[in-house]
Each structure stands twice: as C-alpha cells, then as structure tokens.
C-alpha cells in the first residue's frame, strides 16, 4: 500500500484527493494545513486517515511514501525540501518553484536522497496531449520541430471577478516574482520545453497590463504576454498568454519539416496538418473533406472515452499521478524529465526578468536574452 499525504488543503487539493482515492493500492494517510479547519473539511469529504497542522508532524507520524504539495507557490521549496530530506517522494503542484535556483536544488536533493520528484504539469497528460506525443514520437513531423506556438489564456474579462481576484493587495499571487503569470503559464511553457533540444534557448518577452485591468486601477499585474523563444537557428516558438483575447485558447501547434499538428486542449481535439499539397483546385476541395473527417474522428474518440467513463476533467492529472506512482513502485521512468521541469522554470525566470526590467525602465522589453 502506497501511503500518500497532501500538504495544503485548498482548491487544488480536492482534485488530488479525488484522483488518489481512485488509484488502487493507495491510501491518504494524512492531510496537512496550517489552518486546521481546512484540513478537517478535506477529511470530511475524502478518505483521509488523519489531519495535521504541521508538515514535520505529518512526516514523522504518518510516515508517507509520497507527499503532494498543493500550497501557494512561495512555500513549495521549503516544504518539498523538508519532505525530500525525510525520504519522501514529492509531487509539487505548478508552478514548481518560484525560481530555477530552487528547482535545481530540489532536483539535486531528490537525486542525492534517491527519491523521486515531479511537477504538476498535468495538462501534458490529457488524452489529446498523449495522442499528440505518440504521433510526434512516430515521426509524423518528419524531423525535429521547426516551429511551435503555444497559447495559454486565462479569462479575466469579467470586471467584478477581476476586481475580486486582484483587489486584495496582500494576495499571494502578488508576491511571486512573475505575479499572476507565474501561477498560470507553466502549462503552456512546458509544452514548448518538451520539444526544445538545447538547454539555453533565447527568449524575447513582451508583457503589459491589459486595458481592462488598467480600467480598474491595476498597474502591477501583467496579464498580457507575448514571447519568442529560439534555439540557434533551429527550433523556434511563440508563446501567448492573454486574459482578454477570445476565444480563450489553450492550444499548441507544432510544425515539422514534413507535417504539423494542432492540439486544442479546450475541445480535446488533435488535428493533423498534412504538409503535402494536392494538385491545382483539388487543394481547395479535398483538404476540407479530410479536416471534416478528422473532426468527426475526434468526436467519435471523445464520445468513446466518455462512454467508457474515462473522460474526466482531470484525466491528465490522474495519468500523471498514476505514472509517478508507477515510477516509484516499479522503477518506471519519471513521467516528466527533470530537464523539462527545470527548463520550463528557467524560461519562466527569463520571461519575468525581462518584464521586470521593462517595467523598471518604463518600457516593454524587446531585447533577446539567453536562458541561463
């Protein structure tokens, strides 16, 4: 029986507890929150053996094999470090750490202690993302990716919702080096990091406060971001985060020398983009039919998943947690490589550094900067 503990009993802890209770051979031996009432409410709704107010107490008394850290990001490093030092495997919710230095130290510590570590990049494991990965691995792109586009949006169009979210000047989002962006963009950046082949791509970031946020008096929270990432004349990528554009996309496009793919996370759709052209007017008539066929196949696939009760909203998280547990129990490879986790963190650091530099100089940043 794998003994699992959850530290931090807020909103995302619900998703973790819900998935863990479905995995055979697991038991939630403890839930920990500095606010005892929060730990209790989780225990009342899920099969949690005991509640703890402190991590040290949880680790020494419940002796978990795995700890899921679902606290606000600023506390991830200290809690993960403590758990790793005490021989626990650790799942850290996104964003992994507040900077790459902390991330590297956690990875080093995990390797030193012989335990495993993963980050909550669960969108990488949705059904459609797994289908895309399999196609890329089969050589569908025809070689190394030439270009990628990752969209990861967050709907802040509702003025009263934006006010409620941003009205509290003491909100933990504000103390993160990357503010609101840091709490959200790691899913979209991780998609790009997975397919980069070098460890030090160049980054140009352009961020600003949207007119909507400005209209409610916000001047610090950057909620519009455009990024160019490039690898020495090889693979390039665009990343877009927007709180205002519609539709609010969660999309990834990847183009190889031969073919391309579009992953539409919102609708769980994967579209293959055929590089070869049809002759003359046939190129105007045959592709629409082929696209229609692909969309229909996506519909049938999604319906099948739904009917077989395998189409949960958090299916990516379930797959990630199961894969992580398998790597712990059976020595299977980690679901996300440490390289990908750290590269994601380093790219994010570089983006935030450029935005901060731009803000301090009263302009947006345009200069390319190499990821350290």
């Amino acid at each position: 029986m794998l003994k699992v503990a959850i530290v931090g009993c807020g909103k995302i802890a619900d998703a973790h507890a819900s998935v863990i209770q479905q995995i055979p051979g697991c038991e939630i031996v403890g839930a920990c929150d500095r606010e005892p009432l929060m730990a209790t409410q989780l225990q009342e709704r899920f099969p949690v053996r005991k509640c703890f107010p402190e991590v040290a107490e949880l680790v020494s008394e419940a002796r978990p094999d795995v700890v899921h850290i679902t606290t606000p990001p600023a506390s991830h490093f200290e809690i993960a470090k403590f758990c790793l030092e005490h021989g626990c495997h650790v799942y850290v919710e996104k964003p992994f750490t507040v900077d790459a230095g902390q991330g590297q130290r956690l990875v080093d510590l995990a390797e030193e202690k012989g335990v495993k570590l993963t980050a909550g990049h669960n969108h990488q494991f949705s059904h459609v993302a797994r289908r895309m990965r399999a196609l890329v691995a089969s050589g569908y792109l025809g070689g190394t990716p030439v270009h990628m586009e990752s969209y990861y949006c967050y709907d802040l169009s509702n003025r009263s919702y934006a006010r409620a979210l941003l009205g509290d000047k003491r909100h933990w989002v504000r103390i993160l080096p990357g503010g609101l962006l840091q709490n959200i963009i790691s899913h979209g950046i991780a998609r790009i990091a997975e397919f980069l082949t070098t460890d030090a791509p160049q980054v140009i970031a352009y961020g600003f406060v949207s007119p909507l946020l400005k209209s409610i008096g916000e001047t610090e929270i950057v909620d519009e971001l455009r990024v160019i990432i490039s690898e020495e004349e090889r693979t390039t990528a665009y990343f877009t985060f927007s709180s205002q554009m519609r539709p609010s996309l969660h999309e990834f496009r990847i183009y190889g020398p031969k073919n391309g793919l579009i992953l539409d996370q919102n609708h769980e759709i994967l579209i293959q983009l055929r590089g070869a052209k049809f002759k003359s007017y046939a190129d105007h008539f045959i592709p629409p039919v082929l696209f229609a066929k692909q969309h229909f196949a996506n519909l049938v696939g999604n319906a099948k998943l739904f009917l077989t009760k395998d189409f949960h909203m958090d299916s990516g998280m379930k797959f990630l947690i199961e894969s992580f547990y398998r790597s712990i129990r059976d020595g299977a490879p980690l679901p996300i490589s440490y390289r990908e986790i750290l590269l994601t963190t380093r790219i994010m650091d570089t983006i935030f550094e450029q935005i901060r530099a731009g803000q301090s100089q009263g302009r947006v940043a345009y200069q390319a900067q190499r990821v350290p």
């Binding site: 409410q41 409620a164 000047k169």
Partner: protein
C-alpha cells in the same frame, strides 16, 4: 419583548399587509442607539439594505466591513443620505485575516455576519470564505466582552426538506443536512458547517448567537431567476418548480428580519426562517417575469421526471467516479423542487417582524428594476 405596530402570529396564508412600521422602541432592544454595530458584507445585495434598515431604526454607530474590491456605491449613498448624528464607518479588509477581524470587532455590541463565499463551486473556497472567516470573527469578538448578539445570516439551503414533522411544511423545527458533502453543493456544505461552528461557540464560549435563514432573496436588478423555479440550459429554460410555492423574500423584508434578529431580546440560540407573505407559485412567478422583464422559451418538467433525472444523474456520477459532477442528485431535488409549504410564523411571533413591502408591490418593483437593468445593459 419589543412592541411593534403589527400583530404577530400568522403564517403564509395571512393576507399581505405591508403595514408601515411604527418607530421601534429602543427600550425593548438589547442595545442602545449609540452602541457599536458591525455589519460584514455590508456592500452586498442584502448587506446594504441591512445598513439602511439600522439607520431607519435610529442606530447611530455603525461599522461596515467590506472587501477591498467591493463596490461602495450603495454604502456611499446611505452615508450621504444619513440623518445628522449618525456615524457610519467603512472598514476595508479580509475576514481571513485575524488582525482585520480584531480591528473590526473592537467594542462591537451587535455583529451582523452577512459576508459569505457565494457562487463558488469549489468546496474549499466556499468553506474558507464562510467557515474560516466566521471562526476568525468569533474569536475576535470573544476578546471583547461587549458583544450582546452575533447574527449569522445563513440560508434555506441547510435544510434537508425530508423527514419533516409536519409533512409538507418547512419550518425551523425541520432537520438540517447531516451529510452536506453529499449534496454536491459547495455553498450548502459551507453554510451547514458555518452554522455548526457558531452553535459550537455558543455552547462552549457562551456566544449569544441567532441564525437567520432567508429563502430566495430577490430585489434590485438581480435578474437571475432562482434555481427553485428552473434552470436555463442550452438556450432553453427548464421550468422545474411548476405549482410549487417559492420561498421568496424581498430584500427589504429580509433585511428587516435580519436587523430584528440582532436587536430583540430573549432569542439567543434560535433560528429564524425568512419568507414573505402571499408567496407566488413558480408558474405564476415565471409567467409574470416573462410578461414584465423578458420573453424566453421554457419547458415544464414534471416533478416525477425531474426526480428521475436527478436519480439517474446521481447514479451515473457515482458509477463514472465523477465524470459528471454530482451537481444534480435526489438530495438537491428534495430541497429545491419538492412541493413544500413555508412558514414565517416564528419570525412574526418572536421578532415581531412583518413584511415592509407586500409581495405584490415587491414583485412589481423587482420586475421594473430588472427591466431597467436590462435596458441599461
């Protein structure tokens, strides 16, 4: 017991009166006009009416606790129109901060707690903004010996609406949800836990509390139709209420009940349901809404069918391990769509409450403001 201008002791069959209230006698209240009164959620839909009602009752030392992000137009209007000698302080803060709660509770004699995590689908968020916030307020108020009454504004959602002692009649003697986590409704879970916490503080620390449970509060330009009438989905409105009576209370009437719950002596530890007189049926309300506000397509779903659908949804949700969230289930059906009668007898008898605005007039005002709101939109 206070004396009021209306006779107490009637229920939902009593004709609407809408009698203008006589000025309240402060001698019969547990606090004096200059005692400090705190209202959390004061910028909200009901909260601003509570502040207004307290001013009308002659209270002169009010503290409005609001979120930093709250719009203050409603409170500012009251402040600008207040009679001479009335002091209304506004404190911006977060009830999750113990320091903010300490600051707000200083020297408070009556605390009206209306702030809540409403409209949240997440259980932890709803719980934190309701229960943890309430615990902070209770702890803060314990430090000040002046607290005479803690009024918790809860909701009808806490009732199971099953196993009632008087068949269809839902009153304060009816059972409250014992397993609120199974309702699939974060708000219900948070409200039940919040009531339990307040009762615990009452038992263990002697906090003099009163719980007020309003039905469906309407008024202003809040044009969203209560789920007890039906649900809009895929461009079609499913009318689920049919001939059911809807436990409406107009916001001014509800605010008056809340205010009295904090002032009238001898009701510590009691709960009060708040519904108006002459309640309309769901069908009548929907017809009037369509006639006066906007036209839309609706389909009546008979109770047997809505019950069967809730049953199937509940079973599928369980079998699929949450592929469909358990938003619809038999527990919810019993609470929202089962034929039920409501009583305001206790409210009238013990608090001397009477609706300030008769239902017919309140509905007229409501439809008018919805129409105006729609035009402005």
């Amino acid at each position: 017991m206070m004396t009021r201008g209306v006779r107490a002791g009637s229920n939902e069959t009593t004709p609407a009166r809408g009698v203008a209230l006589e000025p309240a006698s402060h001698e019969s209240f547990i606090v004096a006009p200059d005692d400090r009164i705190l209202i959390t959620g004061a910028a909200g839909f009901i909260g601003s009416c509570v502040v207004e009602s307290l001013v009308d009752h002659g209270f002169r030392n009010l503290v409005c606790f609001v979120r930093p992000s709250s719009g203050l137009a409603g409170i500012e209007r009251i402040i600008n129109q207040r009679p001479p000698g009335v002091r209304i302080d506004v404190i911006k803060g977060n009830l999750l901060s113990r320091a903010d709660c300490e600051a707000a509770c200083t020297d408070v004699a009556v605390l009206y707690h209306l702030a809540a995590g409403t409209g949240e689908k997440s259980f932890p968020d709803a719980f934190m903004n309701s229960v943890v916030a309430t615990r902070n307020l209770l702890d803060a108020s314990l430090g000040h010996a002046r607290l005479r009454r803690f009024v918790l504004v809860s909701s009808f959602t806490v009732y199971t609406n099953r196993g009632k002692p008087r068949r269809r009649l839902l009153d304060e003697s009816c059972p409250v949800e014992e397993r609120p986590e199974l309702r699939g409704d974060a708000y219900c879970f948070a409200k039940v836990k919040q009531e339990q916490l307040v009762a615990e503080y009452g038992r263990n620390f002697g906090v003099p509390y009163v719980v007020v449970r309003p039905g469906s509060v309407y008024g202003g330009s809040k044009s969203q139709i209560t789920g007890r009438v039906g649900l809009g989905t895929f461009g079609l409105f499913l009318h689920l209420g049919g001939s059911n009576t809807i436990p409406f209370t107009y916001v001014d009437n509800c605010a008056e009940a809340i205010v009295l719950a904090g002032l009238v002596e001898g009701v510590e530890g009691e709960a009060f349901n708040v519904v108006d007189d002459d309640l309309p049926s769901s069908r009548h309300f929907l017809r009037q809404y369509k006639k006066n506000v906007r036209l839309f397509k609706s389909v009546y779903v008979p109770h047997a069918i809505s019950h069967a659908l809730c049953y199937l949804w509940e079973k599928y949700s369980k079998r699929s391990k949450g592929q469909l969230p358990s938003a619809f289930n038999r527990k919810r059906w019993h609470v929202e769509w089962k034929k039920t009668r409501y009583s305001n007898e206790k409210l009238k008898a013990k608090l001397g409450w009477a609706p300030k605005v008769p239902t017919a007039e309140a509905m007229g005002r409501y439809f008018q403001s919805c129409k105006q709101g729609k035009q402005h939109a």
